[in-house]
């Protein structure tokens, strides 16, 4: 009796699941699901004030161990060389739709006044860790480069690769000019370690962790994301269908 019931239950859920999997394989249905991302983003942009800050914690709230995720060590010879030189020759390029393209030496970035923020990092997988970040507001870098009025997105090109594909991410100008969006060079009172994105990483505090790209080498201002790599605005967006807007 139990077995028969279990058999029927499994069969019924199997039918339903088969249906869900079939729907999931249908491009049209996936587009319907994707339209919810636009709805969610527009709604959140309506509800969340432009400069609303992510909560900033105190020293006592820091995670005892802040785990790393994604790339732990970029495996290119260029990066290995930079690491050997202690990133002495690392430069941050700023180009695209800007009036004054820049190439900022790491030493200069680290020497100007910066922001310190203790924030919560939320991984798309569900875990959270609290860390202290030291870095320069992205808005100041963009102002120095004189961003064009045509620019709509800021793309971050990274030194790490997944297989043959470089990691990259992008955000719009609302997040780019948010006061907590920084190009960080330090964490918990020390210089960034390699697993956490040495020597430079992005922090986008109102979105999930995968938006905060590590090993940032180049910042590019663009009008559209359509012609950059897979066209969806990021490595995970292109290759695994993660949402470009990761505010939830």
């Amino acid at each position: 009796m139990i077995n028969r019931r279990r058999f029927i239950a499994t069969g019924a859920s199997g039918l339903m699941l088969g249906g869900c999997d079939r729907l999931n394989n249908s491009a049209r249905f996936r587009n319907v699901l994707r339209s919810a991302e636009t709805l969610t983003m527009n709604t959140q942009r309506l509800i969340v004030p432009r400069d609303a800050l992510a909560h900033e914690f105190g020293e006592a709230d820091l995670s005892p161990v802040f785990r790393s995720n994604g790339t732990a060590m970029p495996d290119t010879s260029e990066y290995a060389q930079q690491l050997k030189e202690n990133f002495l020759n690392w430069r941050l390029a700023v180009d695209g739709l800007v009036a004054r393209p820049l190439s900022i030496p790491l030493g200069v970035l680290r020497s100007i006044p910066h922001r310190v923020q203790i924030t919560r990092h939320d991984c798309v997988e569900g875990w959270s860790a609290i860390g202290k970040w030291h870095g320069l507001e992205l808005s100041r870098i963009l102002d120095a480069a004189a961003l064009s009025t045509r620019a709509k997105y800021i793309v971050f090109h990274c030194a790490d690769r997944f297989g043959d594909k470089p990691y990259y991410e992008s955000i719009d100008l609302v997040d780019a000019f948010h006061p907590q969006t920084i190009i960080a060079w330090g964490m918990n009172g020390q210089l960034l370690t390699v697993p956490h994105g040495a020597p430079l990483r992005l922090r986008v505090e109102r979105q999930l962790g995968y938006k905060s790209a590590k090993y940032v080498q180049r910042i590019q201002a663009v009008e559209s994301l359509a012609h950059i790599y897979g066209g969806k605005g990021g490595y995970w967006e292109d290759n695994a269908d993660y949402e470009w807007y990761a505010g939830i």
Binding site: V32, A54, H55, R67, D122
Partner: protein, 256 residues
């Protein structure tokens, strides 16, 4: 969720009307029936896609933070929920999130509409609010023993919610579902910036995530008992009443 339309004043109901053994009553209004079946779909998709999301990090914590090196209060190894319980059936966090965050809209918007209208049309106050009589321990105990003996209300009493139904429907509609939504929002870093009270109220994002999972478990328990009661109370009549609104009133004991 069931909603009874009660045309009979409870006081009048005490007077014995001549009950016809095949009396058909109109029990559920159309909006209730639509909301019920929409929820039947939505809640299943939310639960199953939610289990897939849980599979991505099957550990729960209390507090503001929580990750692999911290101490979970509940922890599984591997991917605990099997393919038949998740959407999609093979591991895919991105797809599960697409399902979950799209169907969340189908849960939230109708829920808000229902909460507002059920107060405006007094459904909540009239049909769902337990009366002073009903919450007396003796009355509750009586209902529990009647249920345990599978003696369900008959006649006009079958058109009203009994106290156990009221507790569970009020619990689901006004406590569990709103908690699911609020803890879900508390996990959103953007919403936390907009509404800092979310994180204050739930004492941290990881606490909110734990409460989200606990409420989901309670919802699943409700569904299991709900389905069991439908089967025990006469599935044909019960399901028909939720589709057409019409319910064949079981005659009083001793009448048939």
């Amino acid at each position: 969720m069931d909603e009874a339309v009660i045309d009979v004043d409870p006081v009048e109901a005490q007077a014995p009307p001549p009950p016809s053994p095949h009396r058909i009553a109109y029990r559920h209004r159309l909006p209730t029936r639509i909301w019920h079946w929409l929820n039947a779909l939505t809640v299943f998709v939310m639960l199953m896609s939610g289990l897939m999301i849980f599979n991505a990090h099957p550990h729960l914590y209390w507090g503001q933070y929580g990750a692999n090196f911290d101490r979970p209060w509940l922890s599984f190894s591997g991917r605990p929920f099997p393919g038949w319980a998740t959407i999609p059936s093979t591991y895919n966090l991105a797809a599960a999130r697409r399902w979950h965050l799209a169907f969340a809209w189908l849960l939230v918007v109708p829920l808000l509409l229902f909460l507002v209208t059920s107060f405006l049309n007094r459904h909540a106050q009239r049909d769902l609010r337990p009366t002073r009589e009903e919450v007396k321990p003796n009355h509750i105990w009586h209902d529990i023993t009647e249920h345990a003996r599978l003696r369900f209300p008959r006649g006009d009493a079958a058109l009203r919610y009994n106290i156990l139904q009221k507790f569970s429907y009020v619990g689901v509609i006004f406590v569990l579902l709103p908690l699911m939504v609020l803890t879900g929002l508390a996990m959103s870093p953007a919403m936390d910036a907009a509404w800092p009270w979310l994180i204050v109220f739930f004492q941290g994002r990881q606490s909110a995530r734990s409460i989200h999972f606990i409420c989901a478990t309670l919802l699943l328990a409700f569904i299991v008992i709900h389905l069991l009661m439908v089967v025990l109370a006469g599935p044909f009549n019960e399901i028909r009443s939720m589709i057409t609104g019409r319910f064949r009133v079981p005659p009083e004991r001793g009448d048939a």
